[in-house]
């Protein structure tokens, strides 16, 4: 593979270097020039974390074969301001609170810079449109658009630069005040190093061989050909685990790499550390795994049937966890109700889709401490588990939490840190693993898909008299956070409502699907979706306003929940008041189409998705001419 002689001006410096013909511009600036401000979020042009200027035009550097950038002038996020300084846009991001995890922010700042260069007077709709190629998973975008509008107004002179200064706050008076985040300058400038941005001298690259089968016995794994390859420094399987294998949040049912059998497509089977990513790929292809496919089960209801494939010997019924809650007498409650409604609700698996794919760097330090640097949402627990798994005292295991480029619960599981530790020990080198987006999606936990049967009995005046809920959740192949999710789902299932008779059962079930785990709200989404949807339908049947039915049943200060927690203060009534006002709610039973929507002259409701804000100017009559 002959190298290209790549010439360009990058951030004002002339570059002339050998490059591989298959390299993308993103690889070159990050790996060869160590300009890590621009990130790789997807590698497929979808997310915009890699956006750079090429001859003044913003482009996605993950889609640019390096030869396309030959003899061009390139600016990465590092070019926007000198060290220690921030551009107006970067200052505006700081002021507006527009960065949270920060991983999308360098690309977002670049896109915003391009948008205001294209039109210094772009309105909010046009800004949205011009930022359409960049995804943020934390902010909901509003503060980003606020920031761009603020920068626009400062740049075009309609606001003084002083609006970018921090609001003055009296000493110690922070509640209800806008306080700038102290970590924002590092994020908007691209200086903050996430795990995938970090390197160490002599560092090896790691990739993982994953199962193509949902359920299969592993007859054999032959790593000899991979181990013999030049440039390969270490190959590991479950046989390399020196201690007691198994991790999890509540039950340690998951091995570092598949042991004896695989239970889902994407499960780690082996891992390789080598001098370059290409060598790793070749070595992975040389590992010979013989699988004997087993019957698999993909539906939790089927997994509960007698004769269903069993995933884990310790759970022959495939039940990961069952949480029952009982209050009062539900059967009697239904008998005493004026209206009894039953409905089934389902929710699907959801990917967290943090912009930063999983990544980690590991090494063994001078004192023999196995050190893992990763965006890990649960370092202390993982440290204890890993010590047991690699048979070392806790003092010889160290976890360093790198900046988390979005987690939302998806980085609570020790999915890959164990492999990094084993490879660092085996190779005596620093090792780094960076997931691809596809790998992140196929192998890490999702929100639990659920099927909920909800039966509610109400009095004619709207009081809920009895509630019975049975929720079956697909926990996937391993336990992870399922137990906790089932518990919180059950605790919150009846909502913030006073209900005298309650029977709740939540079940987490093993299947051969991708494991389910922690995800924002941790089970409350699934049960609240059922309960709140159900309340709306009951309100319709009873001819009640949906806000009214909630106020009738709302817990007040001092209420006792159905799990016997006494609540000192309950803000539900205030929340309902605020929500009713903010939503422009049309009171009454939800039985008719409203008459105050945007298409009927209401202007504060989100319109359907459209594009073309930049054309507005062109469509006006050409009065100027």
């Amino acid at each position: 593979m002959p190298d290209l002689q790549f010439k360009a001006t990058i951030n004002g410096r002339k570059i002339s270097r050998a490059a591989k013909p298959h390299q993308r511009l993103l690889d070159f600036v990050r790996d060869d020039l160590n300009l890590t401000g621009n990130k790789e979020g997807c590698g497929a042009g979808e997310c915009g974390t890699c956006s750079v200027f090429v001859n003044g035009v913003l482009m996605k550097s993950c889609l640019l074969p390096i030869a396309k950038a030959h003899n061009t002038t390139i600016e990465t996020v590092e070019a926007l301001a000198k060290t220690g300084e921030l551009s107006v846009l970067q200052q505006a991001f700081h002021k507006a609170g527009a960065s949270q995890c920060g991983y999308c922010i360098p690309g977002m700042v670049m896109a915003a810079t391009a948008a205001l260069r294209a039109n210094p007077f772009a309105d909010r709709e046009e800004i949205k449109e011009r930022l359409g190629g960049n995804i943020c998973r934390c902010t909901g975008y509003q503060k980003i658009f606020d920031a761009v509008e603020l920068a626009r107004d400062v740049q075009n002179g309609s606001l003084p630069a002083t609006v970018l200064f921090e609001d003055e706050v009296a000493q110690g008076d922070f509640i209800g005040k806008n306080v700038r985040r102290i970590d924002t300058p590092g994020k908007v400038s691209g200086r903050l190093k996430y795990a995938g941005d970090m390197t160490m001298p002599g560092m090896l690259h790691v990739q993982v061989l994953r199962s193509p089968h949902p359920h299969a016995r592993i007859a054999s794994i032959d790593i000899s050909a991979a181990e013999a390859m030049e440039g390969v420094e270490g190959v590991i399987t479950c046989a390399d685990v020196p201690g007691e294998d198994g991790f999890g949040v509540f039950v340690n049912d998951q091995p570092i790499m598949a042991r004896g059998k695989v239970r889902y497509v994407g499960e780690a089977v082996a891992a390789v550390a080598a001098e370059s990513p290409l060598i790793v790929k070749r070595a992975l292809a040389a590992i010979k795994v013989i699988y004997e496919p087993l019957p698999a089960v993909f539906d939790p209801d089927e997994a509960l049937c007698p004769g269903a494939p069993i995933l884990h010997d310790y759970a022959p019924d495939n039940i990961t966890k069952h949480i029952p809650i009982r209050v009062g007498d539900v059967d009697k409650g239904f008998a005493e109700s004026d209206l009894v409604m039953e409905e089934t609700y389902t929710t699907q698996a959801i990917e967290h889709a943090y912009l930063e794919p999983e990544a980690g760097l590991a090494y063994v330090d001078q004192d023999g401490v196995v050190t893992i640097v990763s965006p890990d949402q649960n370092v202390t627990h993982h440290r204890h588990m890993l010590a047991r798994i690699i048979a070392k005292p806790i003092s010889k295991v160290r976890f360093i939490m790198s900046p988390v480029g979005g987690g939302f619960g998806g980085k609570e599981d020790m999915i890959y840190q164990g492999m990094l530790a084993l490879l660092a020990m085996k190779t005596q080198r620093a090792v780094r693993l960076v997931f691809t987006r596809e790998e992140s999606i196929i192998s890490t936990a999702k929100r639990h898909p659920s099927r909920t049967v909800l039966r509610m009995g109400l009095k004619r005046d709207g009081h809920i008299h009895a509630l019975q809920m049975k929720m079956i959740c697909d926990g996937g192949a391993y336990g992870l956070s399922t137990e906790g999710v089932m518990r919180k789902a059950a605790i919150l299932a009846a909502g913030p409502y006073v209900i005298p008779n309650v029977r709740i059962d939540t079940f987490g079930i093993y299947t051969n699907n991708t494991p389910s785990g922690a995800f924002r709200s941790f089970g409350a989404l699934q049960t609240a979706f059922a309960t709140e949807s159900h309340l709306d339908m009951c309100a319709e049947r009873l001819g009640l306003d949906p806000f009214r039915i909630r106020r009738i049943n709302a817990m007040r200060d001092g209420a006792v929940t159905h799990t016997k927690a006494r609540l000192g203060s309950v803000s539900l009534m205030r929340s309902l008041d605020a929500l009713e006002k903010a939503s422009g709610w049309e009171s009454g039973a939800p039985t008719s189409r409203g008459d105050r929507r945007r298409d009927l002259n209401r202007n504060d409701i989100r319109p359907p998705c459209t594009l073309g804000a930049r054309f507005v100017e062109a469509e006006k009559p050409e009065a100027a001419e």
């Binding site: 593979m1 013909p21 298959h22 915009g48 482009m59 596809e438």
Partner: protein, 306 residues
């Protein structure tokens, strides 16, 4: 991951044909490369090694743009963004800027080419229906005994099915020629799962020319994609509308006509609903931009949407 032994950037057509000849059977042509790189990833083609990638995006012949009174010639490597930043093109091809703004995003449009979108021949390609409505022809070239031999065909015949075209192995798509329609109003309606960077579930290009009073339809061009194996021109609807007064009655009748063409593999019922709505919205938008009498349109608009 896409790997290659050579990444070649020919500076002329002749050089490109030489490279294609010397790497016969082990090369792939790329232009913008915005679809090739994502294609070579897990879940699609996986890891792909192509011995020679031949990047035609910098060949001057493929980058030429000329706007005539009757026809427009577009080099095949014209980036989509030109329809948004070149006012001559926008003026001559009124539906193309509307199409371009829905195509990927500003950044990818700076790189992705019109020829690449055509040759990919996705059933959901955005550019192809829009160009078909502009009566586009493609110009193909190959090297025959040291001479560059060219042939032309209509774009809707060039695309033969999903991801299939009439392009021969030794040929390159060099240019696209299409009608200049400066006094037409143009529209492009598209729906997908998100706003930017999305593959069309349905897309519809509309071009409409009105009489001087802005009341009678003098000409109309319609093409749709996403509802079957390849984009199609809606000739029967065009015939029906031509010469008619702009009125809700005719627009509503026209909107129903193509719903029977929906033959997609999935979500047919949904697509039929979309087609009907798009026909109305697309025709109304094009009419408005063609200078429709605001009084006629305003009242008829209400009626059409009611």
């Amino acid at each position: 991951m896409l790997t290659c032994d050579d990444y070649l950037t020919p500076g002329s057509l002749d050089e490109a044909f030489d490279m294609m000849a010397s790497h016969r059977g082990c090369h792939r042509i790329v232009a913008g490369a915005t679809d090739t790189l994502p294609w070579a990833r897990d879940g699609r083609a996986g890891d792909v090694h192509i011995p020679a990638l031949i990047d035609v995006a910098k060949i001057p012949d493929l980058r030429e743009i000329s706007v005539g009174d009757r026809r427009v010639r577009l080099g095949a490597a014209t980036p989509l963004q030109r329809f948004l930043d070149n006012s001559h093109l926008a003026h001559a091809l009124p539906a193309m800027p509307r199409c371009a703004v829905w195509f990927a995003d500003d950044q990818i449009r700076a790189q992705a080419t019109i020829g690449g979108n055509i040759v990919n021949a996705s059933p959901a390609a955005d550019v192809t229906p829009c160009l078909i409505a502009h009566e586009a022809e493609v110009e193909l070239a190959r090297n025959s005994g040291g001479e560059v031999v060219r042939r032309r065909m209509k774009l809707d015949q060039f695309v033969t099915g999903p991801n299939r075209t009439a392009l021969a192995d030794d040929e390159l798509l060099v240019a696209i020629e299409c009608d200049a329609l400066p006094r037409y109003g143009g529209g492009f309606e598209k729906v997908g799962h998100r706003r930017s960077l999305v593959i069309s579930l349905v897309c519809l290009a509309t071009l409409l020319k009105l009489d001087d009073q802005g009341r009678r339809i003098e000409d109309v061009r319609l093409a749709i994609a996403g509802i079957g194996p390849k984009p199609v021109r809606l000739e029967d609807v065009e015939t029906f509308l031509c010469g008619k007064q702009l009125s809700a009655e005719y627009l509503l009748e026209a909107a129903d006509m193509p719903t029977s063409l929906v033959a997609s593999r999935t979500r047919q019922e949904y697509r039929r609903e979309v087609v009907r709505g798009f026909m109305l919205r697309g025709l109304i938008n094009a009419a408005r931009r063609a200078g429709a009498d605001p009084e006629v349109l305003a009242s008829e608009l209400e009626a059409a949407y009611a």
